[in-house]
Structure formats: C-alpha cells, structure tokens
Amino acid sequence: MNEKVFTAQSLTKTYLAGEVAVHALRGVDLDISAGEMVVLLGPSGSGKSTLLNIMGGLDRASSGRLFFKNSELTSLDDGRLTDYRRRHVGFVFQFYNLIPSLTAFENVALVTEIADDPMRPDEALALVGLEARMHHFPAELSGGEQQRVAIARAIAKRPEVLLCDEPTGALDSKTGILVIEALLGVNRQLGTTTLIITHNASIQDVADRVLFFADGQISRIRKNEVRRAAAELTW
C-alpha cells in the first residue's frame, strides 16, 4: 500500500446557519493513500463539502483529528493552514471562481507567482488543452473552458492533493467529460491524489474508491477493481 496522505479520526463539524445549528460532520474516520483517485458521493448537506474544506485547510473541524502525512492539520493556526494550502493543495470549485479581471494565463499565474516549484502557466494550460485560449478573459470562455482554467490553476503548483467540489456541476455532459478527462490526466501524469465531490453517480466509475455520504457520515465505501476511462462515461 502506498503512503497515507490523509488520516481522519472522528472528525465532526457543527456550524450555525443563521440561527440553526447544523451538524455537518458526525464523526468521520478515513485514510487516503498517495496517488489515489477518490469520488465522494451523496445528497446535498451530507457533509462531503465540509470534509473537503477541512481537508483543504479552508475550514476547521469542531472535534476529532486530521493528519496530512505526518502533520496534524487540526492543530495548525491560520498562518500555517495558509502555508499548507499554498504548498500542498489545489482546489477546483463548481463555479470556477476565476478572477474575472484576469486572463486565463494570469489566473494561473496567480498561483505560480506564490508557489515554490510551479510549472509554467502555459504548461499547466496545455495539460488541460487550453493553450490556444490562454489570453482570454473568463467572460470570453465557455463554462467547460473556465473549469479547465480552474484545474490548470489548481495543478500549476504541482500540489500533492487536488480537491474538487462538483467540478462538473455547472457543465453539460460533453464538457463535463472533458473536465473529468483533464482531472484523470493530471492524476495519471503527476500522481496527484485527487478527491472529487459529485452528485453525478456515473463519475464514480473512474475512481479507485467511492465514498458514500449520508447525514454527516461515510455510510459505505466501494472499491473499483477496474477504473473506466472518462470517454466511456455517459450521463
């Protein structure tokens, strides 16, 4: 078995939405190995995003422990969490979250400027097949293209983990498949541990493991003996 990247022990998260207390995570235990491709499935509010945010250092657990390799993320302060994100994590979001006033190239450069050993922005864009569109502003790109820019931005710093929250949620199936292809390519070529949250059950077939979420907990884990290629997906 490969080296463990993440180890979660009894993670919980409770937060206030307006005046209601929401128990987003109710005790999650989990190991993720290096280079793994993991899909997180489950209904809205089942805790997938919360777990991903905590793993990415965007949010804090209310209790429990989470390790990234040997360091305990749950004990880090804000400054160290920022450092952690800066060095090790790439994010891809459903709504791309590109900076509208920067071009595709510049959006990627936003990361490469602060990373230790980044690839060149054009290299990263080439990996997602967007080298021809790199001087366009987000408003001039289609949704799929914008999402691929977001992926290029996420991987440009050669992160150890890539966390994707509904990366195809806003896309039609054809462009969605292109995006999944890009993610798989990165996982294969760079060996990046990749976690993908999705509502789309058909995506599960590309993963090594599938985690099913319900009510703030992992209800089931499925291991795929054979991973399908993105081109074989339909939805």
Binding site: L58, D59, G79, R85, R86, N97, I99, S101, L110, I114
Partner: protein, 787 residues
C-alpha cells in the same frame, strides 16, 4: 507587474468613475490646503521681501516740531538700527475735473540721497529736484485712478497756501500698501494721495527748516519694541510728540495682516472636512468592493495567499486613488493658489510677487490624504482578514431584513412596496446611511460657509453705515479748533446738520493688557453718529465714564462697571482710571467714546474739536465741495457713500473669489458622495432590480426605486448640513474677528436655501449619470450570475 497588481489596475479601470469621484474629493482637500496656505505663504513672503528690500519701519512717531539734532539721540537708544526723520503733513487737494476734495499725505524726501527707511519703489519718472517746490512724486494708485502721468498737474493747500504741483514720478511704498485717508475705513484711490516732495521745499512751506514732524525707527533683530518706544516717547514728549506706535497699529500693515489671516483660516477650517468626507467615501466604496469580491478573496486565500498580501492588494486600491487625488489637488491647488496670489498681489499693489515654494505643503497634503484613505479603508480591510476562505466562497447568507413596525401595524396600505423596500434598505445599513447623510451634510455645510459672508457683510454695512454713522461727510481739521467752528460748518452751502467731535489718542489698559485707541468726545445729543449697543439699539451715551467697543472690553477682560486705566497721549500726559459705562457694537477698529464735556474736563481744556460730521443736500454738492476746498483748516473730507462703495468693492473681491472656488469644491463633494452611493446601491441591488424588470416594472420605476433612497438621504442630510454650516461659519467668524474688523454672524434663510439647491442639483446630476447604467442593465446576464 505582478498578477494582483494587474487585477488592481483593471479593477480601477472598471470602477474609474467611482474612483475618480473619491479622488476628486481628496483633491478638493489637497487643493484647499495648497491654495490657501500656499497663497498665504506667497503673499506673506512677498510682503516680507518688500519690507526688507524697501526698509519698512518698525516704529512710527509723530511730533509737532522737533529739531533734527534729536535724530542722533534717537539713534543712540539701545536696540535702534536706523532712524529716518522727515516732515509729514496732511493737506487738502484740488484736482482738475474732480469736484470732491481729496486729501494728500505730504512727506519730505531728502534732497541728497535716499531716505534711510521706507524707500520708494519708483514706477515711473524720477524723484523731485532738490529745492523744487512744485515737483512731486505721487503714489501709483492715485496717479492711475486719475489717469495721471509724469507731467500731470494738480494743486494742494500747504499750510494755508494753495500751490500748483507737477507730478515728476509715481511710486509704491511699503508704508502705504493699503493707503487709507483720514476719516476713511477703506482705501479710496481717487480721494487719497501720498505725495513726496523735496525736503527743502516742504520745510519752507511749513516753516520746519532744520526740524522734522515724523520719525521712523528700524529695530535691531532682538530689540524690545516696547522699551525703544518708551525711550522714544520720553525724548519726543517735549516736542509735542504723540506716543510712538509699532507695525501692529500701522493701518496698512494691520489690514494686510487681517486679509492674510482670512486666507490661512480658510485652509485650516475647510481642509479637514474634505479629508473626513474622502475617508468615509473610501470606506463605503472599498467595503462594497470587498463585499462584492468575497469569493475572489476566498479563492486567493484558498490558493494560499496570506492575509497580508490580500490586504495590501486592497490597500493599494485606496492608495492609488489617494495618489490620483493628491495629484489632481496639487495641480488645482497650485494653479488656484497662483491665481489668488496674483489677485491679492494686484489688490495690494505689490511691486513684485514672490511665489513661495512650499514642498512641505505638498508632503503634508499627501500624508493627510493617504492617512484619510487608509483610515477609510480600515473597515474593509478588517473584513478581508476576517473572511474565512470556505465561507467566502459560498454566497453570503441572504441579508436579514427587519420589519419596520410590528406586523399588526402594517404599512402596506399606507405606502407603496418600493417605499417599504427603500426604508428597509436604509435601516439595514444604518452606518452606511448615516455616512452618506454626513457626507452630503458636509457638502451643504461647506457651501454655507462659502456663501454666508455676503449676508454677514450686508449686516455689517447696515449697522456701520446706516444705523451708526449716518453722516454724509466727515471733515477732519489740520489742528484742533474751537468748538464754535462747527457753527461755521453748519452755515456752509447745502449743509443740513453738523456735529462736533474731539479725538484724543490714548493707551487703555487693564492689568497687563494694553491697547492704543482713540477716544472720541461726542455731543450728548449726537444724532448723525449714533452709538449702537450689543442688542443693536441706538443708545444715549452715559454722562460719565467711557463707552468702549465690545470687542475691546473682551480683549481687556472688563465688564460694564469695571474701571480701566487710560494714559492720555496728547496735551498734559496723565494716567486716569475711568469706569466702563457702555459697550458698543461696532465692526471696524477698537475705540472709546465719551461725552464731549466730560472729555474736555479730563483734558483740562476749553471745548475744542478735531473733526465734524455733516449731512448735506446732495443737490448742492458742488457748492459744498467748493466751500470745503476753500477752507485751509481742513485736512480731509471723508465721504460716506464713497467709503461704502469702496468697502463693497474690496469685499466683493474676496467674497466672490472665495465663494466661487469653494462652491465648486462643495459641489464636487456632493457629487462624489451621491454618485458613489448610487453606484454602490446599483451594484448591490442589480439582481433585485433586474428581477423587478423581469416582473414587469418599467425602467423608470426601477430607477425610481434605486434613487428613492438617495433622494431621501439627500433631503434628510439638509437640516444637519445647515447646523454644521452654521457651526463652521461661527468658527470662521470667530477666527476672523480681530481688532481691525469683525462681523456678527448672520446666516440668511436664503443662504440655506441656495446651499441646499446646489447640493440637490449635484445629486440630480449624479442620478442622471447612474440612470444611463440602470437603463443598460442586462437582465439575462445579471440573473445568470451567482449572487
């Protein structure tokens, strides 16, 4: 250029109109500071250079007749650097084709060389040949007022004899930058001349060979003015010397001081307001920017940008705007400052202008502006730090609105939904709403400050020229005359009434505070010159004691009934203690008044007069003027209506210039505040407004919903704006109140109305600009984007 800087640059380009509006307000503050302080320094520096190069005197004294040998003794007084003795007399002038009598201040020029002090700056021609009794140099402004050039002629009555004089040159003098004739408040270039002629000739005319009647002293750097004056007085006493006085009591110097004070006060009062307003505009705009970009901030944090880097990014936004403001303000301030300096330089007839270089002013202005911008940015920056990345990337929770009233008191039936939306919006952002109100109120206040002066001046004119001094003319005599002379005056052609006055120079003192003033002895039943008390009622002078200007009472720290010490500076020098029995509301100079009989008893003299107030029939003006010109005892004639016209003219210069500059700046503030608020509401509510359009609202209705809030805030801001304006005007008035001139604060209702009208116009103008944006609102794209 880093990627974040590129973002900054594009953000600024996108928000250029809002950024420019803020920059303009900052620029307004910078311009005010540089304009007022810069022109003050230039004019002050000009005056200093003029004084220094033309050796303006420190101490002045007048004697009846003193031997020239005394000059050496004066020079030996410790602390004296230079002495100049000359002959100086007042003389009535007769100018061809000019009916009214004019007054000349005639002074001697040494036959050999230049005077030791108060040098002349020759504009045209030359100085008189030694001994030539008909050649004179006159002050440039008098020559210009009459179109005189070297070769022009007029006549003067010197020591009772009329002489033809020929102008051989025109000149400027540091002593007469502000040339005011006897009995006048304001310079009248047509009716007052400064005349220089050969010493031998003037001594011959006044039988003053080997003697002088006026002495000027320049002090060494560290000399005590007070001590030299005391010694000088002791030397001059037996030659009929009136007490020496310093620059503070010299009319020309004191007036320029006063006007320069007005300039520098402007900058101190108004600059902080501009900076305050720009700080909260920055606050509004940047807070909004941060709120709109919370997702981007979240992403940057998610990508690993540290708080410091993101804060710096937004701080740079504020700094760039401030820098643009400083640049605009510096340019405008420099230009306006040079304009104002020239305007005042012309008005004062300075022979040259020194434009003071004030790099420190620009530095101060820049530091203050950057500080204001940074303080304004503070709240937004704190918000940036506080945003947690995960939270930042989710849309903000829908804002919580509150019902304005408990549910059972429904407003629905009383007011329309748009009005309810507007009211809820205002109550949801109470801080922002109050900042907006405060900003608009500040603009109204600045307008009131720049507009109030004219009503205040009208009040001053009303009290001074119509309630108190109601004579048509004031006749001054060369020497004191028996009181019966007034009967003679009453019989002159056209004269309807004549009242006698006696003026005695004194020093008035309470404890260590002392001032030099004139005490005017007046007839008990005086009706032409009335005394107006602080309640603006004419009052009868008490039989005993002294009535003094209320500001003098304030300076001395005395109340009605207190006693003051008075040194008589004429006749037998004595020191007396007199009770203050009335306080006088007057706006020019400081003075004392007494019953004429009581003053005569104090002076231990038979009733005498030094001037007379007259009213005359305007139809017989020519005959009256001719009669006055024929009276050798008369040294000057002050004309009431001319004085008023001159006063209006000189005030108009100051008031119109300043009012137009500051009105422009206040309009910039109003525009900046309203435009920024409108743009912010638009960006916040674009989705809401687009939804309304989809529901079938017209563009006009949607615009109305957007602007209703601003209309309300603009109107609500007016009353506090009036109050702030009144307060600022009061501060200005108080700072400007001096011994030379002061005003009672009058703010007419029309001033409030005008100020509010200008502000509302500026608001409407910004609404029109925003209208174009609302009309362009792209419904589909607004609704498609995530909130």
């Amino acid at each position: 250029m880093g990627v974040l800087d590129r973002k900054l640059f594009r953000d600024l380009r996108r928000l250029w109109a809002q950024a420019l509006a803020i920059a303009l307000v900052i620029g307004g503050g910078v311009a005010t500071l540089i304009l007022a302080a810069g022109s003050y320094r230039s004019l002050d520096e000009t005056r200093r250079a003029y004084y220094e190069r033309y050796r303006f005197t420190d101490i002045f004294a007048v004697v009846r007749r003193a031997p020239k040998a005394l000059v050496d003794q004066v020079a030996e007084i410790p602390g004296v650097a230079a002495v100049d003795a000359r002959i100086a007399r007042l003389a009535l002038l007769d100018i061809p084709d000019f009916a009214a009598p004019a007054t000349g201040h005639v002074m001697s020029l040494p036959d050999i060389g230049e005077p030791a002090l108060n040098l002349l700056y020759m504009r045209l021609g030359r100085t008189p040949e030694p001994g030539r009794a008909d050649e004179v140099v006159v002050n440039d402004t008098f020559a210009k007022a009459h179109g005189f050039a070297p070769g022009s002629r007029f006549s003067a009555i010197l020591n009772g004899r009329k002489r033809e004089l020929t102008i051989v040159g025109t000149a400027l003098s540091p002593e007469f930058i502000y040339a005011v004739g006897p009995g006048d408040i304001m310079p009248d270039d047509r009716r007052f001349a400064v005349i220089w002629m050969s010493e031998t000739a003037l001594a011959g005319a006044y039988d003053l060979e080997g003697a002088f009647s006026s002495i000027s002293v320049k002090l060494l750097r560290n000399a005590s003015e007070r001590e030299v004056m005391t010694r000088l007085d002791a030397l001059l006493d037996r030659y009929g010397g009136r007490a020496a006085y310093g620059r503070k009591d010299q009319t020309s110097h004191a007036w320029i001081d006063h006007e320069l004070d007005m300039l520098s006060n402007m900058s101190r009062t108004l600059t902080p307001i501009f900076l305050l307003v720009s700080a909260f505009l920055m606050n509004l705009t940047l807070s909004r920017l941060v709120a709109l970009e919370r997702e981007q901030i979240g992403v940057m944090k998610a990508l690993g940008y540290r708080n410091g880097a993101i804060v710096l990014h937004y701080l740079k936004f504020a700094i760039v705007i401030a820098a643009v403001g400083v640049a605009i303000g510096s340019a405008a301030g420099t230009w306006l400052g040079a304009h104002v300096t020239r305007l005042f330089g012309d008005y004062f007839h300075f022979p040259f202008l020194v434009f003071a270089k004030s790099p420190d002013l620009y530095v101060i202005a820049a530091v203050l502006s950057f500080a204001a911008a940074a303080i304004g940015a503070l709240r937004a920056l704190r918000e940036v730090v506080k945003l947690a990345p995960a939270v930042a990337m989710q849309p903000p929770a829908p804002p919580r609105f509150r019902r304005l009233l408990p549910a059972r008191f429904s407003l629905d039936r009383l007011v329309s939904q748009p009005i309810i939306m507007m009211l809820r919006n205002v109550t949801r952002h109470p801080i922002r709403a109050s900042f907006t109100v405060l900003g608009i109120a500040a603009a109204t206040a600045i307008l009131i400050v720049s507009l109030f002066l004219s009503a205040t001046m009208e009040h001053l004119i009303d009290v001074t020229y119509f309630m108190a001094d109601r004579q048509d003319a004031t006749v001054s005599f060369v020497e004191k005359r028996p009181r019966d002379v007034v009967l003679q005056m009453a019989r002159l052609p056209g004269v309807l009434a004549a009242e006698p006055y006696r003026e005695v120079p004194v020093r008035i003192r309470n404890g260590s505070i002392e001032r030099r003033i004139i005490i005017i002895g007046r007839p008990r039943d005086a009706d032409l010159n009335r005394i107006i008390d602080i309640d603006l009622r004419p009052v009868v002078l008490p039989e005993t004691g002294l009535a003094i200007s209320s500001i003098l009472a304030h300076i001395l720290g005395v109340k009605l009934g207190d006693s003051v010490e008075v040194d008589l500076l004429e006749g037998v020098r004595r020191t007396l203690s007199l009770p203050v029995t009335a306080l006088v509301e007057d706006y020019f100079g400081i003075r004392g008044m007494m019953d004429a009989e009581a003053l005569a008893r104090l002076m231990r003299e038979a009733p005498v007069i030094t001037s007379a107030s007259l009213s005359f029939d305007q139809n017989q003006r020519e005959a009256f003027y001719a009669a006055i010109k024929a009276m050798p005892a008369v040294s000057g004639l002050g004309l009431h209506s001319t004085s008023l016209a001159n006063f209006r003219e000189s005030m108009a210069l100051f008031i119109t210039t300043m009012a137009s500059i500051y009105t422009g700046l206040a309009a910039v503030i109003a525009f900046g505040v309203v435009y920024n608020s409108a743009r912010i509401s638009l960006s916040e509510r674009a989705r809401e407004l687009a939804s309304l359009r989809v529901l079938g609202f017209t563009r006009g209705e949607v615009l109305w919903i957007l602007l209703l809030e601003l209309a309300l805030l603009t109107l609500v801001a007016q009353p506090p704006g009036w109050a702030m304006g009144y307060g600022l005007a009061w501060i200005m008035k108080t700072k400007l109140a001096g011994e030379l001139m002061r005003v009672r604060l009058i703010v007419e209702s029309s001033t409030y109305v005008l100020a509010s009208t200008i502000i509302i116009a500026a608001a409407v103008f910004s609404a029109l600009i925003v209208r174009a944006r609302v009309y362009r609102l792209d419904l589909v794209s607004v609704l498609k984007t995530r909130d």
